[in-house]
């Protein structure tokens, strides 16, 4: 009797001990159809590789993750690892929500990252890295070969021989007359939020303007400069000519009912476009909107560790695993995004030499401009996005840009210039 008791006690003690040792890291990731299979795979692979060390990860896709993160920061109930949209990092760091990753991350991995991805994750006041993205993204034109041939326009093959603005407009004009085409260009106006600044800032940037002056951190004079007004007036003109799929046109005009001939959108539409158009799908580099200059946006959702996590070392282990060459290549092949590590690109079927996505990798390496890494970014993005939508709906270009610039500068002033920025 006594023996059994001791035995049970010993058993219970071991059980308690092993329970205490088994560390569960909780991970919040974005909830996307193309990403879900990747995350399932990641969780399984990580747990298989780390079970012997007693570390397991629970990966949960979170719908509306931006809102969930805000709520989590407020209630101090955040997991050990989160995914956040790259350009929001500076705002989170500024309000003290994130842990610097430098001491947890693998040095070899850091030096292998694409420069623009490193730039996206680095906070300039302390030069530390707070977020790291497994992938890069880009925006280019996707075309329907059948319509382009019917219109008789040249199809550019690489970044250097991209369309000039005149050529692009000529193509739109010709395409609008092709049978079956209702609108020559789909700008994805059905999207909201970050797309509007992600997709349309390159127009300003290739014309010498920007969302904000990156030295003085003031929007007035840069966002509403004559160059911005000019290119966005051109865009409005296309809308008036009914060349652009309207906002209520829905998502699938280009690859579904094929009433649009071209689409200006990022690589996340890869699968849908491929499935809808098959061999008719052709990738066209970002046009030279002003003179000889072209720009594409970059970056995306990144791994980060909340300051509130009590398990930072293991969180670091998880991020290093997710950023391993193999995992990064898997992310690219499963979701269609560009690998963020140079050494992962050759492993990827899509982005390696001769792969179908080579042009996207080329854009990411040559013409990508990182979004302003600045705490006011959420306001910058929203104000510019609203302005773009209003301009496309017929509002006065100059006054919309003035309004957006004023709103951004007002926010910066309200936060006393986001110290230590501007010091």
């Amino acid at each position: 009797m006594r023996r059994t008791l001791t035995l049970t006690a010993a058993l219970a003690a071991t059980l308690a001990l092993s329970l205490a040792q088994a560390k569960d890291i909780t991970v919040w990731v974005i909830d996307g159809t193309s990403e879900r299979p990747y995350f399932l795979q990641l969780e399984k692979a990580f747990n298989a590789a780390n079970a012997s060390k007693g570390i397991t990860a629970k990966v949960t896709p979170i719908p509306n993750i931006n809102d969930a993160l805000k709520a989590g920061f407020l209630s101090k109930k955040l997991p050990d690892v989160i995914m956040l949209d790259g350009p929001n990092m500076a705002n989170y760091v500024w309000s003290g929500q994130l842990t610097p990753l430098n001491s947890y991350l693998d040095k070899a991995m850091l030096s292998d990252l694409l420069p623009a991805i490193r730039a996206q994750g680095t906070y300039s006041p302390d030069g530390k890295m707070y977020s790291v993205s497994p992938y890069d993204s880009t925006v280019l034109l996707w075309g329907n070969k059948k319509y382009l041939k019917a219109a008789g326009v040249r199809i550019p093959k690489n970044v250097n021989d991209a369309w000039t603005l005149t050529e692009f407009q000529d193509a739109l004009s010709k395409l609008s007359k092709v049978k079956g085409v209702t609108w020559p260009l789909d700008l994805k106006l059905n999207y909201s939020g970050e797309w509007l600044s992600f997709g349309f800032a390159p127009l300003l940037q290739s014309c010498g303007a920007d969302l904000i002056n990156r030295k003085t951190w003031q929007a007035t004079g840069t966002l509403n400069s004559p160059a911005s007004v000019k290119i966005l007036t051109t865009l409005q003109d296309w809308k008036n000519k009914k060349w652009i799929v309207p906002q209520s046109g829905g998502d699938n005009r280009f690859y579904g009912d094929k009433t649009a001939a071209l689409a200006w959108v990022g690589n996340w539409m890869w699968r849908d476009h491929k499935a809808g158009l098959k061999d008719d799908l052709v990738l066209i580099p970002a046009p030279k909107f002003c003179g000889n200059k072209q720009v594409s946006p970059n970056g995306g959702w990144s791994w980060a560790i909340p300051a509130s996590s009590s398990n930072k070392a293991d969180a670091g282990t998880f991020i290093n695993f997710a950023m391993s060459t193999r995992q990064v290549a898997q992310y690219a092949d499963i979701t269609g995004y560009i690998p963020a590590r140079k050494s992962a690109t050759p492993l990827s079927k899509v982005y390696g030499k001769g792969g179908e996505g080579e042009l996207m990798a080329e854009q990411a390496a040559t013409i990508a401009v990182v979004r302003p890494v600045y705490p006011a970014y959420p306001v910058i993005s929203k104000s510019f996005g609203d302005a773009v939508l209003n301009i496309l709906n017929g509002a006065n270009v100059k006054s919309e840009l003035d309004k957006a610039a004023a709103a951004i500068d007002k926010d910066i002033a309200a936060n006393k210039g986001y110290p230590p920025f501007g010091k």
């Binding site: 805000k70 500024w94 906002q247 209520s248 929203k382 939508l389 709906n393 017929g394 509002a395 936060n415």
Partner: protein, 307 residues
């Protein structure tokens, strides 16, 4: 047996007062849950909103400390063109939707109150929209408004139109389109109120009117409508308040566009307070919103006196 001794009387009266005290404490106990909920979820948040409206509080605490700013938020709101646009849009929506929705629900209620075969079947059919979640209604209706080939565009094509209307994408049509959807989605609530009101009108009045030779329209105008007086006041006030809370439809369908033409007070408030993280500014707007809606309810109440 019949006469009671004084002692018994005293004991009885004592028992009575004890009963009273007991029932009072029981009543208080019964009131407790409702009071806790009301104080916790209505009064405390509102008092907090009033306090926050005088500060520059941000949603997520940050290195710049929160400070008291006096009436600055209120001054800013009253000179904010976007706030006034949202106010005009909301008033416009209410102006369109309230008579339209009340009319439809009264019409359907009168119809469902009359005698016809399969009446209960139609009655349950009529409240279906109310049981469908608003988000689902919106998904269905966005297909109706789709361009170039949604239901409504096919309809106008059938009537000979040669082009399509971008219902949700044009500043002129977006709000009427939202009105139609909203009226359809929520009219059963008013209809139920009217149905209850109709059943309160004594049938003798109609009998008497018929004997006097009144036709259907006269019966409606001289008996039904006056008989619904109190119901009308209730429906009018609840519908107007409901209209001022317009949010889900415009947030999902038009995101306040085009060019802010469907942005409403509640949507603008949430955008400022949550998306832009300006809790102080959003709170001030919430206080103004409560004042507007409260004033409207009182105004309507005075205008159509309750009997």
């Amino acid at each position: 047996m019949q006469s009671q001794s004084p002692q018994v009387l005293v004991a009885k009266s004592k028992g009575k007062s004890k009963d009273k005290r007991q029932s009072l404490s029981e009543e208080l106990l019964l009131l407790l849950p409702a009071t806790v909920l009301l104080v916790g979820f209505l009064i405390v948040p509102f008092v907090m909103a009033i306090y926050l409206s005088f500060t520059d509080q941000r949603l997520i605490p940050n290195p710049v400390p929160t400070g008291l700013v006096g009436f600055q938020n209120y001054v800013q709101i009253l000179t904010d063109p976007e706030f006034w646009q949202a106010f005009r849009n909301t008033a416009y929506f209410a102006l369109l939707v309230v008579p339209f929705q009340c009319g439809i629900s009264l019409l359907v209620a009168v119809f469902l109150n009359s005698n016809f075969p399969l009446r209960s079947f139609f009655r349950s059919m009529a409240i279906l929209p109310l049981m469908t979640p608003m988000t689902v209604v919106i998904v269905i209706w966005s297909a109706f408004y789709r361009i170039p080939d949604g239901l409504f565009n096919n309809l106008i094509k059938a009537f000979g139109a040669s082009t399509y209307v971008d219902w949700l994408g044009s500043a002129a049509w977006a709000m009427p389109a939202i009105v139609l959807l909203s009226a359809w989605a929520t009219f059963p609530f008013q209809m139920l109120l009217y149905l209850a009101g109709l059943q309160d009108i004594p049938s003798e009045r109609y009998e008497a009117a018929r004997i006097d030779g009144a036709n259907g329209w006269q019966q409606f105008w001289y008996i039904t409508f006056p008989g619904l007086r109190n119901t009308n006041i209730l429906v009018l006030i609840t519908t107007t308040i409901g209209a001022f809370k317009l949010f889900t439809q415009v947030d999902i369908l038009t995101r306040g566009g085009p060019i802010g033409s469907t942005n409403t007070l509640v949507r603008y408030m949430i955008q400022q307070g949550y998306s832009s993280q300006l809790v102080g500014y959003g709170s001030a707007m919430a206080v103004i919103f409560v004042i507007i809606v409260g004033a409207l309810a009182i105004f309507q109440r005075v205008l159509v006196k309750n009997e």
